[in-house]
Symmetry: C2
Subunit: 143 residues, 2 copies
Amino acid sequence: MQFSFRMPVAVQILLCVAKFDGVFKTTSTFLASSVNINPVIIRKTLGQLKSAGLVEVAAGVGGAKLTKQPCEITLQEIFNAVEDDEDLFHIQDNPNPNCPVGRNIQQVLGNKLSVIKNNMLDDFAKITLEDLLDDINKAEQSR
Amino acid sequence: MQFSFRMPVAVQILLCVAKFDGVFKTTSTFLASSVNINPVIIRKTLGQLKSAGLVEVAAGVGGAKLTKQPCEITLQEIFNAVEDDEDLFHIQDNPNPNCPVGRNIQQVLGNKLSVIKNNMLDDFAKITLEDLLDDINKAEQSR
DNA sequence: ACTCATTGTAATACCATAACTTACAATGAG
DNA sequence: CTCATTGTAAGTTATGGTATTACAATGAGT
């Protein structure tokens, strides 16, 4: 059981947009070759990031730009932009209402798990695009 | 994007086994009717829980029993018993090695995300079967 | 106004995996 | 020996992610 590619792809897109700002025009084809994924997926993801207000995309001429500084963009925003499910965990829909466990499991387990999901989102909020850029630059220096 | 049913199902199984201990024989058919799921799924899940040392299953005669007290069984153990993936997040497998972002993304983002996964597992470790049983009993009292 | 690379989006296909179902040999208490 | 039950295999169905093709809409540059 894993999360989909989506969030990591979105992160890589934003990192490229930030890193190549002013150097290359970051078109969907350009980004697709960094991620090694289909350009249509890039455009779809860029569309989600645009809806979330994280990037501007130049229709027609092409290329994307960040709307904020990398230090102002968190993993939480990126995650929320591309993952739309309200619930992280999937508790059975129709437990038996005649069973004391069945009729309470959604409420009881749901409470606990939603706390855990919120903790994860809080963790995401602590990581910015700038943190990741710094790590990449450090890795590049030591090559 | 959601986790599968597996962990919640396993939790409900264990809650039933604990709650009905000595009252009903908790066969796969009995458990299946509480969860409202196919008995084969129950048997498969019980098998995983048995491998993890959380339950004993009486082959032939039927029924399952906990091997520990509910206060000694954590959500983390249950999660690990039924979810076998090493990585929670799925970072693209073949990023472009000629791109400074592509050739570092796995390392850099992977580091951050593995910390977050471990935090989640720590959260799981803080919740015991007994906590959930208590919540269910409370909910039942106020009916 | 025209060109042309690019975006936005729809439609379709493909594939992996979860969940369902049927079936049946093996088990073990009574 | 019987019989309800477990363990497990095999096949089916459903869902969702990813890939791919196609094309109208966009808009800077000429």
